[in-house]
């Protein structure tokens, strides 16, 4: 509260005394870092000043009447109430002004729509509530989740400057290249927006929208999902990390190596405690948004996993793995097979079957998941503990 009070005082003095203080608060559209964002900014300012001028003229006349044509000052009312000439004038002058505005607007619009001949194609998919980036033709693809700690959101810890505008893995792109974004949605409509790039495109499930940007300056550019997409709409930021061409390429190389490492991990023999630890991590990152911290869910929209039949009944392991891998169509439960590695899936399923009192003691290993993906069946062949019981 103290802080608030101080801010308020600062603000009020700022407002009343020194316009220089205004610089501290962003209160206008950013000019951005692409040629297009600049044109759009200019357009915005042009139209803004036109309306200001019209406003001053119109309200000027009005306040002049308000002040000088008062009855209390003894003003006598005139009787005139019609003039075809002025009607024609004040129809045609605004029309002409509009034509003047329309010309640069149309030009900019046509440019925005010209997404052809791109150097790089990136497919952007909105999920509840994260973004997936696929570098087409590069075999690189990953998800980007909010990384702000829950403690900051619940006010248990002070907020960092990038509060709610930070992710675990940003979209990395090179500068000076025409990047085409192919934007789509996996469940509901989202909207991919980065103000500094002046790109905002709706992510429509089942359709692809194109947009593009050619970034002039390296830097980190932050935006947010701009279409109401459910509960955590306010918590799915977009972060773009624009780098020089070399930096971009070394990053790509790293990404490829990382993928190979993950493949290795799948082959490793995992112990129960390793899986539980990993599972908790995955759960708290990916699943918690819907199924909540202690697996209690938010029924009826998001079912509880604590004590859920599927998570405790042995004969339902198949269904359990299945729903996590392939999701359930037409519900918020999405397919995780491309978002999570076999290791993650095995771990999170194991975790769900053993956490919060779901003490089944069953363990599902990454290799089991590989088998499941192949045969569509859980055999438990690989989990050491269950090895003896399994036929």
């Amino acid at each position: 509260m103290r802080l608030q009070a101080r801010r308020l005082v600062m603000l009020l003095t700022g407002l009343t005394t020194s316009p220089a203080l205004w610089a501290e608060w962003a209160f206008n559209m950013p000019e951005g870092v692409t040629d297009l964002s600049r044109s759009i900014y200019d357009l915005h300012m042009t139209i803004f000043w036109i309306t200001v001028v019209i406003g001053v003229l119109v309200f000027g006349v009005m306040f002049w009447s308000v002040i000088f044509h008062r009855k209390s000052r003894g003003a006598k009312a005139s009787e005139f109430h019609e003039s075809t000439l002025v009607e024609i004038l004040w129809t045609s002058i605004p029309f002409a002004i509009l034509v003047v505005m329309a010309i640069p607007a149309t030009k900019t619009l046509i440019e925005v729509y010209d997404a052809d001949n791109a150097d790089i194609d990136i497919k952007v998919t909105g999920y509840q509530w994260k973004w997936q980036y696929e570098y087409l033709g590069e075999d690189v693809s990953f998800f980007s989740n909010l990384s702000t700690p829950r403690d900051e959101i619940s006010n248990a810890r002070p907020k960092n400057p990038n509060y709610l505008l930070e992710v675990d893995e940003p979209l990395v792109v090179p500068i000076g290249k025409k990047i085409r974004f192919l934007v789509t949605g996996a469940d509901v409509i989202h909207s991919w927006w980065v103000p500094e790039l002046a790109v905002k495109k709706d992510a429509i499930p089942g359709f692809i929208n194109e947009s593009w940007a050619k970034i002039n300056k390296p830097g980190i550019y932050r935006g947010q999902c701009a279409e109401l997409c459910g509960k955590d709409h306010g918590f799915m930021p977009v972060v773009v990390d624009a780098r020089t061409q070399e930096d971009y390429e070394s990053w790509l190389q790293e990404k490829r190596e990382e993928a190979a490492k993950i493949r290795e991990l799948t082959q490793k023999d995992w112990t129960m405690s390793e899986l539980m630890a990993k599972g908790e991590e995955v759960y708290n990152k990916v699943c918690v948004a819907c199924h909540q911290l202690n697996g209690q869910g938010l029924p009826p929209m998001f079912p509880a996993l604590k004590g859920a039949e599927m998570a405790v009944k042995r004969e339902m392991i198949d269904d359990h793995i299945n729903i996590v891998l392939y999701g359930k169509k037409g519900t918020a439960m999405q397919a995780f097979k491309d978002q999570l590695s076999e290791v993650d899936i095995a771990a999170v399923v194991t975790y769900e079957r053993n956490a919060w009192g779901n003490n089944t003691g069953e363990m599902i290993t990454p290799k089991d998941i590989l088998d499941y993906k192949k045969d569509g069946k859980y055999t438990g062949r690989h989990s050491q503990e269950n090895a003896k019981e399994a036929k």
Binding site: K123, L182, T184, G206, F207, I208, N209, E210, K329, G330
Partner: protein, 303 residues
């Protein structure tokens, strides 16, 4: 248009303002219960529970609605026959009915608009044509065509095996409805000529044509579901098909009920050669339903 038996107070200049009436509030309660009941039924259907409360609420609401309709229209008929309505009042009714039909036109316009948008934009885009043709990336193998026999996601929406042939039942239905519009006009002319028995004959014929239409339509639905695999679930073709024909069918039913009441009133000796707005309103409605059908026949079945 003057009244059937000009009573006191029905001259130009004074306007009949009805006293308090219980029917509006009855109608509100009826509508409310009907819709709440319907909502409960739908929710328990989708959640696959077998909660029957919705049925009772719905049934109670419908009963109240039916009672209200008899009561309210009964009052209007009595007032009209008592000569309380002036020519001005008659014009109010005409404006009322006319604009009501316009609102119905706009209701159907939403569905026709949907059909055109789907055919000329959405489906071609999904199939890789036009401005948003890149969308095809998401639906490999999908081909745009109309009528849409294979949907982008054939697992969730298995397409229809076959479609209704426009030149069989739908053609018969077109002939039935167009003829019924003619017979309805005939009935009107007979009424104006004060020829009661002829009015009744033509009106009866109209009604029969209308009911046969509904039976044929019902059979067509049965056929579509059981033999053609054309269902509400067979993708956008089935969706638009049943939406448009279904709401049309509902309106035919309503029109037929109105005309039935007109038949009963004529049989009871209501109306005069000059004053029969109730009949005219029902006839307008019937023609409107007929015109909608022509649109359907063209855009849903043939093209």
């Amino acid at each position: 248009m003057a009244n059937e038996n000009q009573g006191a107070g029905a001259d130009e200049g004074t306007y009949y303002v009805p006293a308090q009436s219980k029917w509006p509030i009855v109608a509100t309660v009826g509508l409310f219960l009907t819709l709440v009941g319907a909502g409960m039924m739908m929710n328990s259907m989708s959640a696959q529970t077998s909660d029957a409360t919705g049925h009772y609420v719905f049934f109670a609401g419908s009963l109240i609605m039916a009672w209200m309709l008899f009561g309210w229209f009964g009052d209007v008929i009595r007032e009209s026959r008592a000569g309380l309505y002036s020519a001005q009042m008659d014009r109010s009714f005409r404006w009322g009915m006319g604009w009501f039909i316009f609102s119905e036109v706009m209701f159907f316009a939403a569905f026709f608009g949907t059909l055109f948008f789907i055919r000329f934009f959405a489906v071609p885009w999904l199939g890789g044509e036009g401005d948003k043709g890149v969308s095809q990336m998401l639906w490999p193998g999908f081909e745009a065509q109309w009528p849409l026999m294979t949907n982008p996601d054939p697992e969730a929406f298995p397409g229809p095996r076959e479609l209704v042939n426009p030149w069989t039942l739908p053609l018969i239905n077109t002939i039935l409805l167009v003829t019924s519009s003619v017979t309805c006009t005939k009935a009107h002319h007979a009424l104006v000529a004060d020829n009661r028995s002829s009015t009744k004959t033509w009106l009866m014929l109209t009604l029969i044509l209308g009911f046969v239409f509904l039976v044929v339509q019902g059979y067509e639905y049965y056929h579509a579901y059981h033999e053609l695999g054309l269902t509400l679930n067979s993708g956008i073709y089935g969706s638009t098909f049943f939406m448009l024909t279904g709401f049309h069918g509902a309106h035919v039913t309503l029109g037929a009920i109105m005309l039935t009441i007109m038949y009963i009133r004529i049989a009871k000796g209501h109306f005069t050669a000059r004053n029969h707005f109730g009949f005219e309103a029902a006839a307008w409605y019937w023609h409107f339903v007929d015109v909608v059908w022509i649109g359907l026949f063209l855009f849903v079945y043939i093209l």
